[in-house]
């Protein structure tokens, strides 16, 4: 029974990792951008929610009404203003520019808010749990997060396969030059893409900040977790991202069950193991 509980907790933990990973996977899938600042943008979303919550007295879920559009604009502006200029220059420019953005966000937050840890308060839902026969207990909040991840992936699926915007995304992903010849404005589309990626990042940031303490230095580990979920699932595969998140979550839960200090390490080791035996991930889709 203990183990069934562990597996269930791990699976649900995978929901938040999948949410972390969606934005990263999206920007890689569409514009081959590996955004090193991704983790810091997750944390930035949490800080935006913190400020909005303090200013308006709204609870974190309601704050999303403001946080989501703000982060969309941040993503749009970053791509339009900075990252679009790095597209033609090979590997190093996008990597280093997003690296610079990461350091600026981290230290900007440090200067603005100090090194204190914060948490968003959502009330009773955080600790509520459902009891099942056989001693199995499932937290309501992790379940909600997992549900949000499923809805997020399903809505992306709809966006990609049922809308004109989605068709344009798939077109530039397959062949940016031909897409441009067909009248797609790639630069604008990329900006919208990072904006959409930031919508999911904002949701992930707020949901994670309700569950976990955060501080200005909390970004890099989120980037690593998101990255691990993307690689385990297979590059460019949306639902693979969820599987990747779940594999990572289960590995961490099993590690934590052995000893609490083993949680993160167990996740990393599972990632490296999969990398060695199946370098292209479990469900590879795009090639870089």
């Amino acid at each position: 029974m203990e183990w069934i509980n562990t597996i269930i907790q791990g699976t649900l933990l995978g929901g938040i990792y999948a949410l972390f990973a969606i934005g990263l996977s999206l920007s890689f899938g569409i514009m081959r951008l590996v955004n090193i600042a991704h983790g810091d943008l997750i944390v930035l979303s949490a800080y935006v929610a913190l400020v909005v919550g303090q200013g308006t007295g709204l609870d974190p879920f309601s704050c999303l009404i403001i946080v989501v559009p703000v982060m969309f604009l941040v993503g749009y502006a970053l791509q339009r203003g900075l990252l679009n200029q790095t597209l033609s220059g090979g590997l190093l420019p996008p990597l280093l520019v997003s690296f610079g953005i990461s350091i600026i966000i981290q230290n900007g937050l440090l200067q603005g808010f100090g090194a204190y840890t914060h948490r968003l308060q959502e009330g009773a839902i955080e600790t509520a749990s459902l009891q099942f026969p056989g001693g199995i207990s499932i937290g309501v909040y992790p379940l909600v997060v997992f549900g949000v991840a499923l809805v997020a992936l399903a809505s992306l699926q709809l966006l990609f396969y049922q809308t004109g915007l989605g068709r344009a995304f798939r077109a530039v992903s397959d062949d940016p030059n031909t897409a441009e010849l067909m009248g797609v404005d790639n630069r604008k589309l990329y900006a919208v893409a990072l904006g959409i990626a930031m919508i999911f990042t904002a949701i992930a940031g707020v949901l994670f900040a309700i569950r976990t303490n955060f501080d200005p230095a909390a970004g890099p580990i989120r980037l690593i977790l998101a990255f691990e979920a993307v690689i385990i699932g297979g590059l460019g595969s949306m639902w693979g991202t969820l599987i990747g998140g779940i594999v990572l979550g289960i590995a961490q839960s099993v590690g934590a069950a052995l000893s609490p200090t083993w949680q993160i390490l167990a996740g990393h080791l599972a990632f490296l193991l999969i990398l060695i035996i199946r370098p292209s991930g479990l469900f590879p889709r795009t090639r870089d």
Binding site: V34, I36, L82, Q85, T86, G89, L91, L92, P93, P94, L95, L96, V97, F99, G100, I101, I103, I104, N107, G108, L110, Q111, P220, I221, L223, I224, F227, E228, I231, T261, W262, I264, L265, H268, L269, F271, L272, L275, I276, P279, D288
Partner: protein
Amino acid sequence: METVRVERGTRTSYAFAVVALVALAALIAMPWWGEAGQMRLVAEMAYYLALAQLWNLLAGYAGLVSVGQQAYVGLGGYAFFYLTGALNVNVYVALLIAGPFAGLLSIPVSIAVFRLRGAYFAIGTWVVSEVFALSASLITALGAGSGLSLTPAIVREIAPDRAGRETILYLMTLAISAIVFGVVYLLLRSRHGLALTAIRDSEPASASLGVNTFRTKFIIYIVTAACTGLVGGLIFLQKLRISPEAGFSINDWTVVVIFMVVIGGIGTLEGPFIGMLVFIVLRELLADYGAYYLILMGVIAIIVMLKAPSGIWGYISHRFNIELFPVGRRLALAPAESVGKK
């Protein structure tokens, strides 16, 4: 009539070599004319220069953009502390082992991370470094989360008094940085350097001309790891204590190093030197304003990457056509008069 010969240097580079040697001699003599604070700053500049040269070799030449080199700084540091503290190895011997130890561990690491390309390689190396950091924080023999300190007995092994110790450490740092620089310089001037420069300019083209790109990259990765480990041992010998957080700090050992190389000029030997100076000057000027120097470094790195991707040195070298540490080969017609007659 005229003969063509291969030149490895220019008049400027020979003149500069003399200036550089004089400057080095002045720095070696610093314990007799400088203050302790200044010496510490120069030592810091020296080890940062070494780290920057190594990262530049890795990313600028071999195209291996790693953001996980802090792994080898930490491994070198921990190896040194464990060897001297738990195994009572002589300080100098321990330092000499720290480098190869890091190099040895980089072999299994490369098996995993070499499966990743480009930016994914970068984050993969970072994960590996996190694994080392977390492992160090779990191992009781390594002091777990709180780390290790050098005992007074070990510190006295270097020199009985403080002034003597500072002098010896200073000279060691200078020597190791000079050796690292020499290794990188000679490597780039060698046959392998030609292969590396070819890989830097175009990996597919160099592969098609018979450069074994995988082997070259593999060797560079291991050599860089070993040298980084040596520098790591030295850094923490100066700091006298090491913890997982300090040893494997991405900000201290990789982020600022990357900024130095990018701002100075990636893929050149002069660039890291200029970038290191920019970093030290900015940090000293903005020392009273917290982390703003890091923000400023980030902003400058982004501007350089977008507007002048070859960095400050790339701009100067292009504008004035000079090379201070020539690694290439150029063809020259000799003697010069015969060119004029023709």
